[in-house]
């Protein structure tokens, strides 16, 4: 996966965490993943379609999600699980929306779908020909994971055409 596709998501997460939670987010680890993705805490998924296609998952440690919910809602006391889930959905929407804005302004045309809570415990099966980059960010309020599995649609179509020639 090319860095030009990943960097906007990193920039966007950094900016959104700073704006909404008032803290920094440092990259602590980067791994590649081909198997199922098992969430760590509360996670939301956004699908992308167009010239670039795939999906991005934002996954927050439960404590970090609850702290974010408290910061964003400004409510006293512990936020409910439902509020923490809604917060993660909205943060995901902002991070991916801002990244998509940067990519679109660089000429990539595609659209995003509304975020969905990713509640599977058994893990999410990735597309067989797309590996995911998993970035772990450390914030003073807990870890945040960004799982990015996107690819160029045209290039994939080109690869399929080449495969048909080789294996008629």
């Amino acid at each position: 996966m090319k860095m030009e596709l990943i960097q906007p998501f990193i920039n966007s997460l950094d900016a959104v965490i700073a704006e909404t939670m008032g803290c920094s987010a440092e990259i602590a680890d980067v791994t590649m993943e081909e198997g199922n993705y098992k969430r760590t805490g509360i996670a939301a998924l956004v699908g992308i379609s167009g010239e670039i296609e795939g999906r991005v998952i934002l996954d927050m440690e439960t404590a970090a999600a609850q702290q974010a919910a408290a910061d964003l809602s400004g409510a006293a006391g512990n936020p409910t699980d439902e509020t923490a889930r809604e917060t993660v959905c909205e943060l995901t929407n902002m991070v991916i929306g801002n990244a998509v804005t940067q990519l679109n302004d660089h000429g990539f045309k595609f659209r995003v779908h509304p975020p969905e809570i990713y509640a599977l415990d058994g893990g999410l099966q990735g597309a067989p020909d797309t590996e995911a980059v998993v970035l772990r960010f450390e914030t003073p309020k807990g870890a945040v994971y960004l799982n990015i599995a996107v690819r160029y649609r045209q290039r994939r179509a080109g690869e399929r055409a080449a495969t048909r020639v080789l294996c008629p």
């Binding site: 809604e86 917060t87 929306g97 302004d105 659209r111």
Partner: protein
């Protein structure tokens, strides 16, 4: 931060319709509206509900998300403005690329705010729109 209460055509309070599929985002926007001295006339979670809610509440301002299920915000703007040409709609979305902004303005939206929303920025934009001003469309790739 303290805000001077918004005013509109001698009405005691400016009435808002808040449209977003995220309950959390709606709650936050409603809280900002109340801090501006506004009143919530209605809420909706998708474009279809927004059109119905506009018809029944006739708000002074609509805060409209873009990416929503059933019907997206830009399509809802087109419907609302077709039936109510004076509608004042401000798009509030995390997806702020030029094509999207241009399309929303062409369909009749008055302005665009990118999420995460800063209350002071939203306040200034609402004041601007209440004075019946419209944002300029962003320059497209072909323009200088």
């Amino acid at each position: 931060m303290e805000f001077k209460p918004l005013t509109c055509e001698d009405k005691p309070k400016v009435r808002f319709l808040v449209v977003d599929d995220s309950v959390f985002a709606r709650k936050n926007l409603c809280k900002m509206v109340q801090a501006f001295g506004g009143e919530i006339a209605g809420e909706a979670g998708d474009g279809v509900a927004a059109i119905a809610e506009y018809d029944s509440t006739h708000p002074d301002i609509v805060l409209m998300d873009i990416t929503m299920p059933k019907m997206e915000g830009i399509e809802a703007v087109e419907h609302i403005v077709r039936d109510h040409p004076d509608a004042r709609i401000v798009m509030v979305s995390s997806v702020g690329y030029q094509d999207n902004i241009l399309s929303a303005l062409q369909k009749g939206a008055r302005h665009f705010v990118q999420k995460p929303v800063k209350p002071e920025a939203l306040y200034e934009i609402i004041r601007y729109v209440l004075n019946d001003k419209v944002a300029e469309a962003p320059a497209t790739a072909g323009e200088a």
